[in-house]
Symmetry: C2
Subunit: 231 residues, 2 copies
């Protein structure tokens, strides 16, 4: 039987856009905030850069593999729930019929209108399971190639986002002199990313740009304050 039609989404660039957003939001924020924080405690750009790059490696792998495992676990979850629904329809058909009826009754159908729908499902159990997966559990059949793509997109976006605000530390040996340039790169990149994200998802680019930039600034300020405090 064919897949059910995908849930339509009015504003969306699909899962890849979502994965880029997940990876880049943190990638643009955390390594920059870490580098800014360390600049409060360490004078040599080389050490700040070492920490920043180690963070990018750790963060992109942790987030990328995390995305891979989450997608795999979604797929396992779907398969397990499907098996369970298949069993329930055979073992507890009365309970499952009552669940279908409750769904339609909620939307105002009378029992007389619901009866032929139930009859129809009893004749086609595959259709019934399919219906329960989506209408009772709200689950969509996962795309089998999703997990690998999610890992690469999230991890790659984190790394790309993380490199941008670290670049000035490559070129300026004194970390304190590099920090303003790093902050400038970070703010510009956060603003542009927030704008693009807002365009793609909510249709409110300015608000999204300001939000994203603010999160980066608050995280960097907190990291800076904490690093000064303990050093």
């Amino acid at each position: 039987m064919s897949n059910p039609p995908h849930f339509e989404r009015h504003f969306s660039g699909g899962e890849t856009v979502r994965d880029v957003v997940i990876g880049m939001s943190d990638g643009l924020t955390v390594p920059f905030a870490l580098a800014a924080g360390l600049t409060g405690a360490i004078a040599a750009s080389r050490l700040v850069l070492t920490a920043g790059l180690a963070e990018i490696a750790a963060g992109s792998i942790a987030m990328g593999l995390g995305g891979y495992l989450a997608a795999r676990s979604d797929a396992d979850h779907y398969a397990a729930e499907q098996k369970r629904e298949e069993e329930e329809i055979v073992e507890k058909p009365h309970a499952e019929r009552a669940e279908v009826a409750a769904i339609f009754r909620h939307y105002g159908l009378t029992d007389a209108q619901i009866a032929p729908i139930l009859e129809n499902f009893e004749k086609n159990e595959e259709s019934w399971v399919d219906f329960m997966m989506r209408f009772e559990l709200g689950l969509e059949r996962p795309d089998p190639s999703r997990s690998r793509r999610a890992a690469l997109t999230i991890g790659g976006a984190y790394a790309v986002g993380g490199i941008v605000p670290l670049a000035p530390y490559f070129f300026i040996a004194d970390a304190r002199a590099a920090l303003p340039w790093s902050a400038l790169c970070a703010v510009a990149a956060l603003f542009a990313f927030g704008w693009a994200k807002g365009k793609a998802t909510s249709g409110r680019p300015l608000r999204s740009a300001l939000h994203t930039t603010l999160v980066g600034a608050i995280a960097a300020a907190a990291a800076y304050g904490l690093a000064r405090l303990v050093s």
Copy 2:
């Protein structure tokens, strides 16, 4: 009108568990991996600790605020889509009727069975919008207090997870001597967290524990390798 019944989820501890998992997965992995990476390049625990704490501050705020904004944007998205469905039902009722019919036809209902459903929706537009939100778009009405809770849970879990593997650097001045203890704390915490996560979600605790521990180890090894390379 009452909210539609929530999508039932067979295995679930709800949104709070999900938020703890989001925050703690990265919190247990990234600060540890960063500290391990820096230990390849820096001998003083104090500096490693400074970097680790700055990372925890940056990471927990970036992820917490990110979770806050994501929840807020889900709520905005829901409201915008609802408005759009309300307009479409008034302005393009034929197209919307065709969409409802297509959904039910997919599950094997005949046009004669679909007709009373359509009639019923025409008499109750609120119910119709509700149905479209959930079954055409796959959206659930968001909980208005979710955004603040998401921020605190994700950020807090990140910080708690991050502190555990850093603890040995508090007590052992030589970073190279602290690293094995930090790794031990990290592996034990990752394993326990993965086990609990597996119990709560997939019902396969051992697999989840091994996955989670492996992600942490790979991220730490990559951060270590990169830090040695550039220092």
